[in-house]
Amino acid sequence: MRITEIRVWQRDLPLIKPYRLSGGRLLFERLDSTFVAIRTDDGGVGWGEACPWGHTYLPAHGAGVRAALELLAPALIGTDPLALDAVNRRMDVALPGHAEAKSALDVACWDLLGQAAGMPLWRLFGADEAPPVALNSSISTGTPQEMVALIRDAAARGYTVHSAKIGGTDSAADIERMTAISEDLPAGHAVTFDVNRAWTPGVAVQVLNAVPSRDWVEQPCETLDQCAHVAERVPQPIMLDECMLTHQDHLEAWKRRACEGVKVKPNRVGGLTKARRIRDFGVAVGWRMHIEDVGGSALADTAAIHLAASTPQENRLASWICHDHLAEDPVPGQGVRNCNGHVVPPDAPGLGVVPDADGFGDPVAIYGG
């Protein structure tokens, strides 16, 4: 099988309501998503999506995805899409870094591999069954009262695990937020406090030793070095996210005992191939992982949920789905959908999401063909 053509579409995905994180420092109103369809000489089509969370969250942005595809897509024309490791090596030689663009192509090749094998991706990732995956809500930064109200809303929609976005320059406000949320948390629910790298190490150590909460705390500071410093000095388990870009970063985090878990996001690390390696490493060293994508429609969510569903329960924490926050649905009704706080990955071969290309309008680029 050979890749004959790669088509690229751009879609604006507005959020239902503006979203703030990192102490309100970062505001998001719409996402810029890029869809790719890889066609092969035997008539197959594989789909992928790359959707950075705005341009202030990770070193990635929508226009940059499409600019990078100008180098990456031609490098794959004429090659075998089912040889996933070779596909990734080829992309890594063509353009170092730029995981956010490689991710879409990698996911589309996995879609083709699943279709060729007649198996859903969760099976190719090693699972014998795909149990429902618990979902993580995402609670925008606000006053303690606002955040408590958002958690109650999410609970009413079936969510039992919550990711509360905190972190700012006012450490007293963060102590108040954490205390109020812990006190009001419904029985049986769990919360992760996601700081999105807003604290300096000193503030992190001060706040985390002042609160009664013993829940997970995510990405307290900017760098791995700073987070490792904090992890040694606080009672809460630490989860890392934004500072984990390469496999090497994960080895370094483990070596330095900087965390007890990580977020595994295909778009942040370069696709499902690299995310699976990180997942497998995490299982081997006993990490707990939230497996989800950086952003995107139900297509990107579904790709990540295939990997989440195939991960042993003891290593897996809840997954967030982005499309619950979007005002538009480019793949109506398809893929994983929230059912009482849980999702189940599709059983259809491959990714199990097939966008209606006609509804996407004209592609912004066509390679090969």
């Binding site: 202030t56 969250y57 990770l58 942005h61 730029h98 070095d225």
Partner: protein, 367 residues
Amino acid sequence: MRITRVALWHVPLTSHVVYRMADGKTCDSVETVVLRIETDSGLTGWGEVCPIPRYLPAYARGVAPALEEMAPVLLGADPIGVEALMGRLDNCLRGHVYAKSAIDIALWDLTAKAAGLPLHAFLGGRRVADMPLYHSITCVEPEEMARMAIEAARQGMTQFQAKLGADADWQADAERLARIREAVGEGPLVYGDWNCGSTRLDAIRTARAVAHLDVMLEQPCATLEECAAVNAASSLPMKLDESVHDTASLMQAAALGCMDAAALKLSKFGGLSALRRARDLCLHFGTKMCIEDTWGSDIATAAALHLAAATPPERVMNVCDLSGYVAPRLDPNAPRRCNGRIVPPEGPGLGLVPDPDVLGEPCRIFD
């Protein structure tokens, strides 16, 4: 003063000699990106970044989309006080340090022009009249590389960087270092650069084969740990390049003890603001510095020369006249190598006047 417009050009630079490195990386024709930041005062600032394909996580056509993302912050901003504005750009778009490098250089050019001072006055003050250059020798047959070294030595060059690893033959790499060392005689600095293209085993075998020679090794493998292992297994000093690119990696390299010298490249760190911080850190570590950029023409070259001229000369190992390796020259009057040394341009700011005929019409305008 307010920024009113940014013009961007893509200019292909053709190497006088095709330049080969490990893993099939080459520089025969490479696109450079030139920026001109215009202001309501009439002053303009010039910036440049020229990513070598497949060398770092950077590519020429990634600059314009990144600039488009940052344009709303850049346009209307006061260009004076470079770090403040660069901080706002960092909040607008994370990473993309190579694109920011061109912007940062242009802002420094503007700031120094506004003050009517040469740029080195803002980077610590001029320490020296001129700086030593190194000559980089493409990875070909050992004999031919020795011939190229002799030719450069005749022009006054005293520092030679031999590219290694293009044929993945550790014995040929040892031969390259031995032949060049012999060709240039005692005294000149000779070092061999794998550009991450070797393995620990092969690099250690090469290192042990030349252990009796006065040579330095550069960036044999992709990670710091591997480079440190090669360094520990050999008695030779080591220079690092690709794996030192920010404060954290410089700190780690210093802690591993494998950074006798380091390549401080503008676009790897994110421009003059970031490179000045790296320079100050290397002064603390006692690391000898090669102050330059990955590739480019006169703007990138001049920016690095200003920083080097303002750095204690005993810590500047060398600089690079990138614009001497390629055509066209962006500014025909920019400094050229003379007897193995080079001076920064005269005049306010970078001291450059790029030739409008060479640039032609801008490819993109942001206003």
